[in-house]
Symmetry: C3
Subunit: 197 residues, 3 copies
């Protein structure tokens, strides 16, 4: 049997981890720490036509989220970058140059989505490291699948062949989604790694 003190310790530890941006890993793609989206190549931002403020039925302005939101921690429904179709690209300038070790992709949970489904969530995606911005084909760091049936926050260890490789530019390429015919939503993308000394 477990004592009340042991339960306290387990709970305290779980809440500490929860307060450490949920997963306790440094995010080099966090906007507030200095990262930015420098290009979305040919992706077309989907106009979600969210009226932020309307008066007596007349929407005052329409709003579509910028790709910047994928580097911001808020993940309430709608705090996402929506691009047309199921393929999208984002080149991110990290807050510092790192030896990349993993990436994390996050979507809203099914429970917060109408009908309990998340068809606009990304499915297959690849990650590249770039040495310079114009670079057409970067260094392949891995191909992964975001699983719509698992935890909303999913971390993927990278398959980096050259351990000495370091990058300040990382590209996310979404290749497919979970079935939405019109658009795909990215809520948050994080990049983890070892800082270059």
């Amino acid at each position: 049997g477990v004592t009340p003190e042991q339960v306290d310790r387990i709970v305290k530890q779980a809440l500490r981890r929860y307060s450490e941006d949920r997963i306790g890993m440094v995010d080099y793609a966090l906007e507030s720490a200095g990262a930015s989206v420098i290009s979305t190549r040919c992706s077309e931002t989907y106009e979600t036509k969210t009226a932020l403020l309307s008066l007596f039925g007349i929407p005052l302005w329409y709003h579509s989220q910028s790709p910047r939101v994928i580097l911001q921690p808020d993940v309430y429904p709608g705090n996402c970058w929506a691009f047309q179709g199921s393929q999208g690209f984002a080149v991110i300038r990290l807050s510092s140059k790192v030896h990349p070790t993993a990436v994390t992709l996050e979507h809203i949970p099914r429970s917060l989505s109408p009908k309990g489904t998340i068809p606009s969530a990304p499915k297959d995606f690849t990650v590249f490291g770039l040495n310079e911005e114009g670079q057409q084909e970067g260094i392949h760091l891995g191909k992964f699948m975001y699983n719509q049936d698992e935890d909303p926050i999913q971390t993927f260890p990278l398959q980096v062949e050259d351990q000495s490789a370091a990058f300040q530019l990382v590209e996310l390429r979404v290749l497919s989604n979970w079935g939405h015919p019109e658009y795909t939503c990215i809520y948050r993308f994080r990049v983890h790694g070892e800082p270059v000394s």
Copy 2:
């Protein structure tokens, strides 16, 4: 006795629910998902005179929160819409048309309020479904009481007679507060339901 594994499971489940906007129910009144406050009828916003920025004692601008904040998830002290007196109205255009099933009202906890009391919290309130915006008297969906002594987040199942009724407009009418002579504060209002297929 409970095993450490069982404790882990209980803790993990509780944190998962906590991360699902606390209650794990879709909020069709969430601004980031597309909802908006389209009218507050004759309610007068209370000028709380919160100086957001002042330099050497001279406040640079005064700020009173817009009714929009009741559709936003931040609920730190002050993130509320304050209206004069104890009666206020807000007509909300939901992010989509739904068969409404419940609403949730939220205030700050007593522990975060000076003197440990929340007299400006709403008390009695009613909820209506509207078919069009100018409508003076909507469909009555229930009358409820927000309890100042219970959990800060309180969900109220609606009493909908006509199960086929669906609305994109919902009106919140606050009828009384917990004793504040000057104003009433609404921190967050959520609307739950089944999406119209």
Copy 3:
């Protein structure tokens, strides 16, 4: 042994406290509740050169955080006021006049900082109560040390000699940091107390 019901109760209580701004104490220095930074005396804000938005490698604007952020609850990496060197001052106008009883200082956890160290965290600091803004030397309320090895949120009970003393102005003076040669970061500063009746 502990029963599942007891575990549930412990977990629920821990999450309730977590949701009460983590520590369940009223913060009279919270900006959204009406507090403001009215002066930073001679402290020089450190230009962190965080590009919030850049296009094709050209940063659109640079951004350095205002001292206001220390009164705001967001504490993701970068949501801090960075001042040059290891000594900085901030005079805060509280949301109301209080008999001060404690202050809380917060930094990001080591786990969210590259290299797992937080050299830019404050170390030694003092707190003063001021009766008027121009006052050069306020009432000394205590000298403390923020410990880089303990919990990211640390609360310090004040040593107030005159229990009847009440202040609406409080000054934070940071005297040293944990080793960063260039700047010191303040993520959040809270003031607790008893409201003046």
